[in-house]
Symmetry: C2
Subunit: 291 residues, 2 copies
């Protein structure tokens, strides 16, 4: 299976121009799956919710989705790309999965970063996996990388490939995604953008370093700060074998009964964070477990 990344610097606020560019750049490639950056039709550094609203589109049905559907139908590939989705009178930082037969699914970013918390509504649906025949696709967006639960939830649902559109500005994401692939024995494709945006007195520089990581944490591809499409051949079936050595299957060896039902541990209150109270059980020496 041939997978690709298109790493580029979208032009802020010009959906038509960005779509034309995507159409032109993807016109001559022959791949099975291509991943584009987060918010790749609009750019990132918004000035207001109103501005975001003016660039948001329904999914499916909006102009961007229709054009990307046409592209996928023509080229016969699958595509994952970040867009602004309008639904229920709010906007989501979403990524769509589109194939030769049209729109397949949408992931709404669950962990919003920085100003996104004021710009977007947080994702309201669980992490989800789509089976496109040649592989099972899980989608996460940018900052989701820092929460191990994101990749874990997708891998436990059977994802072979994490498609990871991003607008990374912090330096940590690419190396951490190596750990995500390794701990889940799963492929990951991080499609980051490059360039910078400067608006309203703020400036963000995006780090590039788009990459494809193998199931053993191998860096199969890592880009520089270049505007380019790069491809690599992968075998998604490798992601169905969770054995790191014959005796250790990373999924069968999990022991959720001893993780203290971590998904239900409440977030610490601000007071707890300042160490005034402990909301979670902490064992002190005097009451330590007996034998």
């Amino acid at each position: 299976m041939k997978v690709a990344i298109y790493q580029f610097a979208p032009t802020f606020g010009n959906i038509g121009k960005n779509l034309r560019r995507i159409e032109q750049e993807l016109e001559n490639i022959q791949v099975d799956l291509i991943v584009l950056p987060e918010l790749c039709t609009t750019g990132y550094l918004f000035a207001s919710r109103e501005e975001i609203g003016s660039m948001a589109e329904p999914v499916p049905g909006g102009e961007s989705i229709r054009r990307l559907e046409a592209l996928c139908q023509w080229k016969g590939f699958h595509l994952v790309a970040g867009i602004i989705e309008s639904a229920d009178n709010v906007c989501y930082n979403s990524a769509v999965l589109i194939g030769p037969d049209g729109w397949i699914g949408t992931y709404r970013k669950i962990h919003l970063f920085w100003k996104e918390k004021t710009w977007f509504a947080p994702g309201n649906r669980p992490f989800q996996v789509w089976d496109i025949g040649m592989a099972r696709i899980g989608i996460m967006i940018c900052f989701d990388w820092i929460f191990p639960e994101s990749a874990r939830a997708l891998a436990l649902q059977g994802a072979d490939i994490l498609c990871h559109p991003a607008n990374l500005v912090l330096p940590y994401g690419p190396d951490a995604m190596v750990t995500r692939s390794l701990e889940n024995r799963i492929f990951s494709i991080t499609a980051n953008r490059i360039g910078y945006e400067e608006r309203g007195g703020k400036k963000l520089t995006f780090i590039g370093k788009s990459q494809v990581i193998g199931t053993k944490g191998e860096i199969l591809l890592r880009m520089e700060e270049e505007e380019k499409i790069k491809t690599v051949e992968i075998d998604p079936a490798l992601a169905r074998n969770k054995k790191i050595i014959e005796a250790n299957d990373l999924f069968q060896d999990r022991r959720p009964e001893l993780y203290l039902n971590q998904s239900q541990i409440p977030s610490p209150s601000p007071e707890a964070a300042r160490n005034k109270i402990n909301v979670n059980p902490i064992f002190h020496p005097g009451e330590a477990d007996g034998d």
Copy 2:
């Protein structure tokens, strides 16, 4: 707070010699907390359960624990070290936390690696955190690193420092522990051993690279393949602030309700692993989510 690692190559099967060496090497250091490798009193490459049984000791109460207690009392420090624990007619690959006032707690390795599955009983108690006053200590052992739930469970319970005795043979652990510290904003101290063992036709080489990682994923200390005690100063209070930027607190931003209650997702059966059935919900294009 001054923390230390003693990285060395224990002599296989000679508890007395290994303890004397630990006592001698630690005699002249002034630290608050020192972490020793996994199974540091016995070595690793056992020939049988009987052999393990002959080197196992009750905790507390056994000779090794008594001598380490005496050392901690004399030196006034806290110590984490891997030993073989005997209890309930089985043996555990355990790590003990001991302070100036004696034994504090024991962690029994939850995720057993390779032959350990035949040698030891798997840990039967959840990950746990102990408050030693100057910091809250969580313990995990070696292969636990590959399961993100290990560090997460400890961090969510309030651990400031992951003490991580290890006998690492695979190359991935040290870099992955950088991600563990980063995603949990927590210190981690990996005390690995060096050298090799060759017994019963098998040979294992241990990779060294013991390290202390900061809450931002900084490598504060990483050792070569050297036999040495190394120390570094840390401020455990940094681990109480989970904000990676002002807008993003890594614990408050978790959204367990959207992680599909991952701790309860069953391990895939061998059939599922071979892709004959799907035990987890996979969404296919035809039944993809609507809008």
